[in-house]
């Protein structure tokens, strides 16, 4: 994403969680005020409305919300504002069907005991941490349908080969756009120094 957009001098906003940390680690920033992250309070749902605010100040600029499926749903209604007020925010949705950062802590420190961190129907095995690792057979919710219902452009991809063309389509779309990207939920943000510990306790894999 960074390589595709660096010439455009975009502004990036994020939600809170694994996607936020990966964006911080991999998106190479070079100017102040091009990165907006709810850091102290760490509020999920920050990404989309913050991007909306930025877009209102920089109408012609590329503004991208890199979000997670949990955070995105917390203020998903702002897709309406983006459409109705002509604020063409782009949402890059890293969708692993789970509350990723909490899942990571469950895996590392609580023997993988899933405590209400699966964002799909409760009868799915993933809700109890017994998924087959390939992800749920039916993804939930259908973000493409929801985004289109709000009048926004949208697409869903799962294969790496489709990523670059999909990103290009999103960037060039003349209006708000949601790109739903399926990502595996077993990924952990690394490195990690667990809370209250020191550099010597750093987890690297």
């Amino acid at each position: 994403m960074w390589k595709l957009t660096r010439d455009r001098d975009p502004v990036i906003t994020v939600g809170v969680g694994q996607h936020q940390m990966w964006a911080a680690q991999f998106y190479k920033l070079s100017k102040p005020r091009t990165w907006l992250s709810s850091s102290g309070l760490g509020t999920m749902g920050f990404g989309l409305p913050a991007a909306m605010g930025v877009q209102s100040q920089f109408p012609g600029r590329l503004v991208v919300d890199i979000d997670g499926d949990g955070s995105f749903q917390m203020n998903i209604q702002e897709l309406a504002t983006c459409f109705c007020e002509n604020l063409p925010v782009k949402v890059l949705l890293l969708n692993n069907q789970h509350l990723g950062m909490v899942v990571q802590w469950e895996d590392r420190f609580m023997q993988g005991n899933r405590a209400h961190t699966y964002l799909g129907p409760i009868h799915h095995p993933e809700a109890r941490g017994q998924g087959d690792g390939l992800g749920p057979t039916e993804r939930y919710p259908n973000f493409v349908q929801i985004a289109k219902g709000y009048g926004c452009g949208a697409a869903y991809i799962r294969d790496k080969a489709d990523l670059v063309p999909a990103l290009k389509e999103m960037i060039n779309y003349p209006g708000p756009y949601v790109l739903d990207v399926e990502v595996p939920y077993q990924e952990h943000v690394l490195p990690m120094i667990p809370g209250g510990m020191t550099v010597r306790d750093m987890i690297k894999e």
């Binding site: 502004v11 906003t13 940390m21 911080a24 680690q25 190479k28 920033l29 070079s30 100017k31 102040p32 005020r33 091009t34 990165w35 907006l36 992250s37 709810s38 850091s39 102290g40 309070l41 509020t43 749902g45 920050f46 989309l48 409305p49 913050a50 991007a51 909306m52 605010g53 930025v54 877009q55 209102s56 100040q57 920089f58 203020n75 209604q77 702002e78 309406a80 504002t81 109705c84 007020e85 604020l87 943000v189 690394l190 490195p191 990690m192 120094i193 667990p194 809370g195 209250g196 510990m197 020191t198 550099v199 306790d201 750093m202 690297k204």
Partner: protein, 388 residues
């Protein structure tokens, strides 16, 4: 800050500064009509909106309700100068206002009605407080005579937000509106930025008075200027840098809000010291530079965290030693001398004792430092080691 006393009941004294009193010539005609002047009676709502425009606001995120309708009606009268964007949840409006503030540096403005509208702003206000974002949150409130009655859509929002705002106001007199808005912008932006709440009862929005937009602020004890480092403190920092063998710069949100990114880059260039950033400081220093150690902390890079652990001098600029960065605080940079520059004296020595604490606007401090700083003698080997 001292609380405000409610204005005494029974009339608002109207003060007209001499310069604005028009000269009325008596013309010998049968009827004399009073000419329309700037000093006509204006509603509290109009005064508030005009004040926002006077302070350079061009966008507001506002969700209407009964207690804020006069404000929304006023917004339509000024729509050519102030764009009102309607979010679909007040929290969305609050975060959008933050988006304005964080990307431009100007205070973001959001508005909600009383009761549930106001409480829906709470999260965004708390978020602005913790990340030091300049935010003006305006809430409608039930009429003054009904406050405390459990009126329809009433919440004591000032009470609720007391601990999560830099300052807060309940305006009980229409003649206070212009002054309160002026003070709110000052408080939100000077020193360490933060959110200010203005709660405006409906009868105050509807009441009329003659506005005075040049009114003096009444903020005893509030310094309207940023603190500045003393010359001897700058010399101490320069000396510490010159003598260091394994220095690291730890930069954060204060560099961004202080607009000090250029000064930071100059310092890094002059001294060759590696730079690591907090999640709030990303963008202050280019990540692609060889001198960048990227982010530090819980999910920071391995090399950044090791560099800080082994540093003999940590130059902390616009940061607050947050627990996500330090981990176990006693072990954070335990072998290093700490220079800590921050605009908020309350942060100095709060989490980590600073050997050279400097209460100052960081842009000023770095500008002065860059005039005299010299690169430390032999740190090439250290810089190489940091990169691995």
């Amino acid at each position: 800050m001292a609380g405000r006393e409610p204005a005494p009941a029974g009339g608002v004294p109207i003060c007209l500064p001499e310069s604005s009193v028009p000269r009325i010539e008596v013309i010998a005609v049968a009827t004399v009509t009073k000419p329309k002047t700037k000093t006509d009676l204006t509603s509290g709502a109009d005064i508030l909106v005009q004040s926002l425009i006077n302070h350079g606001v061009d966008t507001i995120f506002a969700y209407p309700g009964g207690a804020s309708m006069p404000l929304h009606q006023a917004l339509t009268r000024f729509s050519d100068r102030l764009r009102t964007i309607l979010p679909r949840h007040e929290q969305g409006g609050g975060f959008a206002a933050q988006g304005v503030a964080r990307s431009t540096g100007k205070p973001g403005v959001c508005m909600a009605t009383s009761g549930p509208g106001a409480t829906n702003l709470v999260t965004a206000i708390a978020d602005a407080k913790l990340d030091s974002v300049p935010l003006i949150a305006i809430t409608g409130q039930v009429p003054t005579r009904m406050i405390g009655n459990d009126a329809f859509q009433e919440t004591p929002i000032v009470e609720v937000c007391r601990g999560i705002t830099k300052h807060h106001y309940l305006v009980t007199d229409v003649s206070d509106v212009a002054r309160v808005v002026k003070e709110a912008f000052l408080i939100a932006t000077v020193g360490r930025p933060g959110p200010v709440l203005i709660d405006v009862p409906k009868d105050v929005q509807l009441a009329k008075t003659v506005p005075n937009y040049d009114v003096a602020t009444d903020l005893p004890g509030f310094r309207a200027e940023n603190p500045k480092a003393k010359p001897e403190q700058i010399r101490q920092i320069a000396a510490a840098i010159k003598l260091s063998k394994r220095p690291v710069i730890y930069a954060g949100g204060g560099i961004i809000s202080g607009n000090a990114s250029e000064e930071l880059r100059t310092l890094a260039k002059k001294t060759g010291i590696p730079v690591t950033m907090t999640v709030m400081g990303l963008g202050a220093f280019p990540s692609e530079s060889d001198q960048s150690l990227d982010m530090l902390g819980m999910h920071g890079s391995v090399y950044a965290n090791y560099a800080v652990e082994q540093a003999d001098l940590l130059i902390a600029l616009g940061v607050r030693f947050d627990d996500r960065v330090t981990g176990k605080v006693e072990a954070f940079c335990e072998h290093g001398k700490i220079v800590h520059v921050d605009i908020d004296a309350a942060e100095l020595n709060k989490n980590k004792p600073a050997h050279i604490p400097v209460c100052s606007d960081v842009k000023y401090a770095l500008t002065e430092l860059n005039k005299i700083v010299e690169a430390p003698e032999e740190i090439a080997a250290w810089v190489e080691q940091c990169k691995k």
